[in-house]
Amino acid sequence: MNEPSYAYIIKQGLWKNNSGLVQLLGLCPLLAVTTSAINGLGLGLATTLTLTSSNVTVSLIRRLVRPEVRIPVFVLVIASAVTIIELAMSAWLHELYKILGIFIPLIVTNCVIIGRAESFASRNTVDRALLDGLAMGIGFTLVLVTLGGLREIIGHGTLFAQAHLMFGEFGNRLTLTLIEDYRGFLLAILPPGAFLGLGFLIAGMNIINARREKKAALGIVPAGRASRAQA
């Protein structure tokens, strides 16, 4: 991958190489935390912050690290970054820190982060690494919020419950109760529901991609996307 363009990086991170739906990395937090949209959003943002700072750091030091020890060094960088972010959250965003609990330090084990460090940040310039971190992180966050939202609606009948934990007073207005007196659908909230939900999301993405390919193959190309991306 020589000098990938900014547009390419963004498309890869958000859709074509989405860490949650295509690369299937970081599934542990993805499945465990997406019991509600707000939980997914909180963890997604923390992961994005970690991913971006880790990518930038790894890119900055990429010429100083010998290949033989690059993985331990990346792990050191990621673990230090997560520890610092965790301390900072405890100091300045204490409420959110308490809610996300153990999933903040678990970000260290998220394979997306070391995956991007190894396959992208260590081989690209800092600006591209930064963008890749943002794009991958936001792509991951979108999956977290979507899956969390779906599981919350089907499982609890609400959407954005406990939004006040992230958004304060304003958050109370965001919370929707979509189905009154909902008895709840437990399967959606428990791990099997997470696997099923993720499966449906991946299937949905594949359907959308297949339709796009068919359209392009038939020559019905939407304006502005004349040449299909090669990746």
């Binding site: 690290v65 050191l76 960088v77 230090s80 301390l87 900072a88 405890s90 100091a91 406990q162 437990l186």
Partner: protein
């Protein structure tokens, strides 16, 4: 690889380890006080939800004593008791017992008890109960925890301090009995402990930390 390359590689790893550790230590040092203040504020917040600040005029976080009773308080470790007083007279206290028999481990509780033995409230502060099932003990998830407000060992009477399934007066959750059963039992035991040690729990009202011994009332 020859020895020199190995040494250089090891040295690089060591350097990064030192830098990483130094950065973490630096952050830790510079956030330590803020974090401690945040924790204190969060704890005081929780206590105030059980005993509203208008009811007391002492420094709740510092007027404390420790209680230990493995059978009634759920742990062999000493447990914190925060005492609220108004003009020197005891008003209420908050005790922090543990429900050891939750579905997924222990449940830490805060139990607010007024001087007359009635509950000012109960909260579950940490647990690992199943999301969507046992986690209904969280105030944010459901109102269940508020069924304890105002109750005491006479209302309902002691024999009825169980979940309905066991012949008592307390609701359990559909699909989750173990969790509410553990919490009801722990609250009942906390009330029993209070009844036994009421006078001792409020003794040694010295607000000055230096003079206050760590007591084991019993």
């Amino acid at each position: 690889m020859n020895y020199r390359q190995i040494l250089i590689t090891a040295f690089i790893l060591l350097t990064f380890a030192l830098i990483g550790t130094a950065l973490v230590a630096f952050t830790f040092d510079n956030t330590r006080e803020r974090i401690a203040a945040n924790e204190r504020a969060a704890l005081l917040n929780k206590l105030n939800r059980l005993i509203p600040p208008e009811r007391y005029d002492n420094v709740l976080l510092e007027d404390t004593v420790q209680a230990r009773d493995e059978k009634l308080l759920g742990t062999n470790e000493p447990v914190m008791v925060y005492r609220a007083r108004k003009q020197g007279r005891p008003v209420a206290l908050v005790i922090a017992p543990i429900a050891p028999d939750g579905y997924s481990g222990t449940i830490r509780l805060l139990v607010g008890i007024n001087v007359d033995g009635s509950l000012s409230g109960v909260r579950a502060v940490s647990h690992r109960e199943t999301p969507g099932l046992g986690d209904a003990i969280d105030e944010e998830r459901s109102n269940w925890i508020h069924t304890f407000d105002g109750k005491s060992l006479t209302s309902p009477p002691l024999e009825r301090w169980k979940v309905r399934k066991d012949g008592g007066d307390f609701d359990q959750f559909t699909g989750a009995t173990i969790t509410p059963r553990a919490v009801v039992k722990a609250v009942r035991n906390a009330l029993l402990y209070y009844r036994e040690h009421q006078a001792a729990l409020f003794e040694n009202a010295a607000p000055d930390r230096a003079n206050e011994p760590v007591r084991r009332p019993d």
